[in-house]
Each structure stands twice: as structure tokens, then as C-alpha cells.
Amino acid sequence: MNWLDTILQGVLLGGLYALFAAGLSLVFGIMRLVNLAHGDLIVVAAFLILVLVTGLGLNPFLAALVALPVMFAAGWALQYFILNRTLGEDILPPLLVTFGLSIVIQNALLEGFSADSRRVPAGSLETMSLPLGPVTVGVMPLLTFLSAVAVIIVLNQIFYRTALGRAFRATSDDMVTAGLMGVEPKRIFAAATGIAMVVVTIAALYLGTRANFDPTIGPARLIYAFEAVIIGGLGSLWGTLLGGIIIGVAQTVGAAINPEWQILAGHVAFLVVLLVRPRGLFPRAID
């Protein structure tokens, strides 16, 4: 068994989990909203890309580019018209509403697309690989990982270098005082969810081209995303990437030892991190 190869594949898989998680992390960091429909929204974006690829004959990457603004608008509207109404002192309403949304999305997708497993065809890219010294990496896993790094760099730039990012952080700190600065929290939240949906679409591109998906796989993706966010520490995007990598490596190493252990090993790694560092690896100083 080639350990180097196993670990490298795990790291690259971690990129996919970080993409699942980055949007969740962003939304939770800004408005303390746990979106239980996050995984299902990834599946929605995957179906949207699938429709654009099969219906219009677009290249999957071009299709994702078309889907980005659509998903941004959908996320903006979802937050502005529905989820904003659930935010408040009580943490239960957003959980209930997004849980319901998750069920609605799954059933709507079942009605529209049936329960068949689908895959977004990516042509020869699917099987292409690059020799890297002693190991060989697939082009799609490598692209996934590089996209995850790029997404986190861009999100960090938005967060720490722009007026919108300042408003995100200020609103997260103190909504009332942010209002005194001219910030309208409802619009800030809508923009945050819109951006999260852009990340979701990028995640969906790789989800859909690398593996089969069907309308009901969302919640399983949500668990990986949650674990990545918690391992990394709430509010830290680089921590989320590291969390994704830890789960990815644990899964590939577990699978290399015994294929039955793949999924379990990821969850065990999560529990171990929780035991040792209950607040995650890079918790925010201020909470």
C-alpha cells in the first residue's frame, strides 16, 4: 500500500469537503444561522448544472458559470424573504424552517428528476491524471482542491479587505450598532447567503462531475460540511479547509485499511478532535 498516495488522495478529497463547508461557515459566522438545507442546496445546484449540460450541451464548467448568478439570486431571495424572518433571540425557528426547507427541496427534486442517480458528464477530464513524482493525481480531484483554496482566499479577501466584509464582521459583532453606521442587517445577511450559494454552486460542480448524486444525498454532505466547520473552529475559513482535509485523509486512510471503515473513520476523526479541542483547531478569539 502506498501511504503517500493514500494521504494525498485524502487531502484532495478534503478540498471537496471544504467546498461543501465554506458556505455554511460563512453564513454561520455572520448571522449565527445553521442552515440545515445547505446540503440539499448543493444538490439543487448540481441538478441545475446537469440541466444546463444536458439541455443546452454546455461544458460543465461553463454551465457552473451560468449557474453562479442564478444561485446567488436564489440565495439572496431565500435569505431576504424567508430566513431573515426566522432570525432572533430564539435559535429554534431557523433550525425548524431550514429543516423543513430540506424536506421540501428533496421532494421537489424527486418530483422533477426522479430518484435515479445522475452524474454530470465531464468528458475526458473525468479520467485524466498527472504524474507527480512517485504518485499520480487525478485532474478533477486536483482541480477540486485548487478551487477550494481559491474560494477560501477570495472569501478571506472579501471578508478582510472590502467594505462589504467590514460590514459582515461589524454586523456579526453588534447588529444594533452596525445599524447606527447605516448597515441594513437584512441586506447584509441576504448578500452573505448569496455569496454562500456561489460557493455551493462551485461545490456542486465537483460533486456532480466526480460522483453520482440523487435528490436525497444532501443531508450526508451536510454532515461532512458540519464536521469540517467544527474541526476547523467556527468562523475560521482556513480552519474549515483544514477540517475538510482531516476528514478526507481519515476517510482514505480508513478505506485503505479496510474499505468498510471509510465513512466511519471520518466521523471518528471528528469525534477525536472534539474530545481534544472542543472549540475546534482555530476558534475565533471573540465569540
Binding site: 461589524a170 453588534d174 444594533v176 445599524g179 453606521m181 447605516g182 441594513e184
Partner: protein
């Protein structure tokens, strides 16, 4: 002359608790008005009402002749009323400079105030510009809160209890900035418990007790006994 900002019969509630009972105050262009009173007199509630943190009846507050009582805070600051909130309320995860820049978020108008002129007013902030706002002393944090409000180039600056919890020498430093803020064209309302400080900087004074205005007059005309009576409700 029409007042720049005025409240008329302003009432305010926290749930069932009534905090203001028909408050009438006015502020004219270029004027500095002090609102004094003991804890619980309703001074901060008045500030929060004007700035839109608490919603009121539309006609209860007028600014430049427009009824603004029911506008949310973001719309009020866009019109040119900025507040230095009680307790400073800096954004803990933002640096000093980022806090100042937040002041410009909702109202980007040209005027005398910018990062440069705020740093000129409070030079210590330029030295500390990249530090977390929480690492500053109380007085420096108050300077950030004032500078942040000035960044919107407000027509009216509301200062809520800016001397609270600060040493007298620090309070003097902060009030030393007020003549320049006044010269920049802002009209000012300060809320103070420190009567001496309030009388020094203000043109006119309102004294509040239990949600009502109990005394009003020019700062120089009010005797200590009258203020004492209005402040504590004592019969002199």
C-alpha cells in the same frame, strides 16, 4: 428660525414600561445642546429614539422639516444624524481604522471629516490604527467612537454619555476636541451626567427627570439651585 432637529410630544416604551412622556426638545443649526439628568431620567432613550434604534411615531421627530420618527437607524444616519452610543460600542473584531471606516458605510458625503482629519483630531488613533479596537484604553476607545460617528460628516452629532467611566483628565482631553467638531459645522447634542462639563460646552441645556423635561434654558442663565431641583426633584 426653524429648528434643525426637534422632537414633539415624544413618547417611548420598553414593552409595557414607558420611558418618555411627551418630550419636546429642539436643536438649531450650529448649536450645542446638553441633556442632563440622573440615571433613568430617559436621556439615553431620547438619544436612541432620535437615532432610530427605537421606533417612534413618525411625527414625533422632525429633521430639516421632515418627519423621521419611524425611520430605522440606517436611514437616519443616511440623512446625517450620527450617534456616539453609550458604552462606545466599538466593533470588537475590527481594527481601529476599520471601526472608523464603518462610520462611512451608510453615508458617503464629502465634508470636513475623513480618516486624515480624524487622525489629526486624535493623533493617538493614527499610531494605533492597525490594533484591535479592544486593545485601546477607555479614553482612546471613546475617541474611536467619536471619530467613527464623524466619518459620516453628520449634520447632527449625538453623544451619549461620553464621559462615563473615564478619568477626569481623559474627559478633559476628549472635550477639548469639541470646539473643532463644532467649527466643522456639526450641530451637537450631548447627554451627560457630569453637569459641570455639560455647562461648559453647551449653548443650551435641558434637564430631564423620570421621562420628562423639567428645566430648559441657556447654559449661562441657569442657577445651580434650579438645576439641582430639576435634577433631583428636590423642592428648593
Amino acid at each position: 428660525m426653524m429648528a434643525l432637529l426637534e422632537t414633539h410630544g415624544l413618547t417611548a416604551f420598553y414593552g409595557d414600561f414607558q420611558a418618555l412622556f411627551g418630550v419636546d426638545v429642539s436643536l438649531h443649526e450650529g448649536e450645542t445642546v446638553a441633556i442632563i439628568g440622573a440615571n433613568g431620567a430617559g436621556k439615553s432613550t431620547l438619544m436612541r429614539s432620535i437615532s432610530g434604534v427605537i421606533a417612534n411615531a413618525r411625527d414625533a421627530i422632525r429633521f430639516e422639516g421632515d418627519a423621521i420618527g419611524d425611520l430605522p437607524a440606517a436611514k437616519v444616519v443616511a440623512r446625517g444624524i450620527a450617534m456616539v452610543p453609550e458604552g462606545r460600542k466599538l466593533f470588537a473584531s475590527l481594527s481601529v481604522e476599520e471601526n472608523l471606516l464603518m462610520g462611512r458605510y451608510g453615508r458617503k458625503v464629502d465634508g470636513p471629516w475623513s480618516l486624515g482629519s480624524v487622525y489629526e483630531l486624535f493623533p493617538i488613533l493614527e499610531e494605533r490604527r492597525d490594533q484591535p479596537s479592544t486593545s485601546l484604553s477607555g479614553g482612546q476607545q471613546q475617541m474611536v467612537a467619536i471619530g467613527r460617528a464623524l466619518m459620516s460628516n453628520p449634520r447632527v452629532l449625538l453623544c451619549d454619555e461620553i464621559s462615563l467611566g473615564l478619568a477626569p483628565v481623559v474627559i478633559r482631553d476628549i472635550y477639548a476636541a469639541f470646539p473643532r467638531i463644532k467649527d466643522s459645522g456639526a450641530s451637537i447634542i450631548i447627554v451627560e451626567q457630569d453637569i459641570g462639563q455639560a455647562m461648559k460646552v453647551a449653548d443650551r441645556v435641558y434637564c430631564m427627570m423620570e421621562g420628562r423635561v423639567t428645566l430648559e434654558g441657556r447654559a449661562g442663565d441657569l442657577g445651580r439651585d434650579a438645576i439641582h431641583a430639576a435634577y433631583f426633584g428636590a423642592v428648593s
